[in-house]
């Protein structure tokens, strides 16, 4: 098991988290916490898999996944933006709903094999660069490359464009944004929807590119929640989210890969598949999330950067302190 292979696999696996985390960053930057990422990813995963299976076209699967995630996110949008529901509970409900719906729609899909997958590409020239080439640019899924493009675009959009400025204004000071003539509700709906699209895409990335297949509600396996944790660690920045996504992608891959190794540094591998010690290995990504969220929270307190000021709060025109 050489490090380049692990890192390359980690980058691929991290793409799942990347799409979901950047989607959540968009939603949260507008002031709407959406804890339904896990549910939206599952719906996206099942939509992608079943459409790709029936049509034979994986791209239609990707489109269906994004649409499904987006539509589901709008339910959360209506609840939290217009009906002013508690964002935490509505997000949890979204996860329950998405999980249940995905299981209903995915009935019988788990026996299906050989779904048409998205193509893998090797980029000429850059793939020849030592170390970086084999990790980032050799035999990766197209979606991985899409992820590379999304990170700087999201960063530029949020930090360097007018609509991005409006997005931040709505999330930090909705009353001021409203006074400037920015539609607070409209902006929030748009970015909640974008979050849903990207969560759906993350789901499609699982079933059509990185871990092909449908494994019921085990398919997403907590990655939606990890993405939510990553957003805190990333302090709502797409660049830091990319770093976190690759880190966790690598951890997820490592946990799988090391179980196939017989000998480590001359000793028998205690974590070989079939040994009960592997369960401690399985804990690793989830424990790491707690660790990075603790680090992120500490740093946020120290540097006085934090969540968007209006995160979690419904906006009501003319209400004090909104």
């Amino acid at each position: 098991m050489d490090p380049t292979t692990i890192l390359a696999a980690g980058v691929a696996s991290g793409t799942i988290l990347l799409f979901a985390a950047i989607g959540e960053i968009f939603a949260e930057r507008s002031g709407v916490l959406n804890l339904g990422v896990e549910g939206m990813m599952l719906i996206g995963a099942v939509a992608a898999f079943s459409i790709a299976l029936t049509t034979g076209n994986p791209w239609l699967g990707v489109a269906a996944a994004m649409l499904a995630g987006g539509l589901l996110s709008l339910v959360h949008g209506v609840m939290t933006i217009h009906l002013r529901a508690d964002q935490v509970v509505s997000g949890l409900a979204l996860t329950f709903l998405g999980t249940g719906l995905a299981r209903v729609l995915g009935e019988g899909l788990s026996s299906a094999r050989d779904v048409a997958q998205l193509p893998h590409l090797t980029i000429p020239l850059v793939s020849g660069v030592p170390i970086l080439g084999p990790i980032f640019f050799t035999d990766q899924s197209v979606l991985v490359y899409l992820g590379y493009a999304l990170v700087p675009l999201a960063w530029l959009w949020i930090g360097r464009t007018r609509p991005g400025l409006h997005l931040r204004a709505v999330g930090e000071a909705p009353a001021a944004a409203d006074a400037q003539g920015i539609g607070v509700y409209r902006t929030r709906y748009v970015y909640v929807f974008v979050g849903g699209l990207l969560a759906g895409l993350a789901g499609a990335t699982i079933t059509l590119a990185i871990y092909p297949g449908w494994f019921g509600d085990q398919t997403v396996n907590g990655r939606g929640w990890i993405a939510v944790g990553l957003v805190i660690f990333a302090q709502w920045s797409p660049l830091r989210a990319a770093f976190g996504a690759v880190l966790f992608g690598a951890i997820f891959r490592f946990v799988i890969d090391i179980q196939g190794v017989d000998v480590i540094l001359g000793f028998e591998n205690p974590f070989r598949a079939g040994h009960s010690a592997t369960f401690f290995l399985d804990m690793l990504p989830y424990l790491m999330v707690i660790l990075v969220v603790v680090i992120g929270s500490r740093e946020a307190v120290r540097k006085r950067v934090g969540a968007p000021a209006a995160l979690g709060r419904p906006y009501v025109r003319g209400e004090r302190g909104a």
């Binding site: 609840m79 949890l92 409900a93 709903l97 299981r103 209903v104 009935e107 804990m283 999330v289 603790v294």
Partner: protein, 361 residues
Amino acid sequence: MHLRLEPRIDAPRWFTAVVTLGALAFALVLSGLIIWLVGGDPVKSFGHIVVAAFGSVGVISDTLVKATPLILTGLACSLAFRMRLWNIGAEGQFLLGAWGASAVVLAPILPAGTPAIVVIPAMMLAGAAAGGLWGFIPGVLRARLGVNEIITTLMLNYVALFWLEFWVFGPWSKGGFPETEPFPPEAWLPRLTDFAASFPLLGGLTVHLGLIFGIVVATIMWIALERTRWGYEIRLIGDSPRAARYAGIDINRKIIVVFVISGALAGLGGMSEVAGVVHGLQDRISPGYGFTAIIIAYLARFGPFRVILASILFGALILAGREIQPSGVPAMIQGIVLFALVGSDVLIRYRIRFDRRLATA
């Protein structure tokens, strides 16, 4: 015409009840519609649930058995949610409780042959302690370091499941199967059917002492919340943290205490499940009780006695839902119910006004 939401100071209780039941009815109709859309027969599905869960004394008893872990985890969530503390980790705390209680018998902490009068309280204590520890971690991280408790409790759910699997597949495995040796009868909670020798009518009824735990805990929690200063402070923190701070309440301390109690209650639920129903430890001991508990807490609007009623309802759904096709239907219904409840909140918190004049924008 323009729609306007006007905050209500206080909604009458009957109105809250009507809206909640209305939301429940709406959710069931919507679920039926989806079942119909995916090719099922909603009338048959719901009819099946009613008959399979309440059709005879025997199945009512089975429903109550399913409701028991839900009551304890539901109370765990209600207590935390009342303070607006998002303990989404009742599932993990339940699993740890089941593990802790099992350890008393399997480790073994108490030697074989110890009478039930010692074993059962020891298991209760161990289960509650293990669950409480699993609640303490997110509690202390939130109170001392300001770490979001939703993420930590969720992650600890996964960690708890793997911890349980380690013991069930590893040290405590019975011949390599994912289950342990059955507990000796001293570690079983008494069931109604155990008294069938004296009262033949009770034969086959599997309701166990855990249900009494639930009722007792609900009563204590109601008294604590509604009739003590401690409970008043929790409600105050939940309704207005700022007012609570001005009143000099040590919120951080309360966060830790409430998290530990919440975890201990869910842990007791795990103990009641292994000692009352399974009589051993398995990896698939919970079909998501700790997650259903979140919905139950919401349906009950955090009222301890209402948690019991809501648990019976969801116990019926879980019991009867096992045979419903497609298999995801019960989970989907739970999601729709929670959404309907969350959405219906708007009617309780706001009065909806229709202004005939144009909005002056």
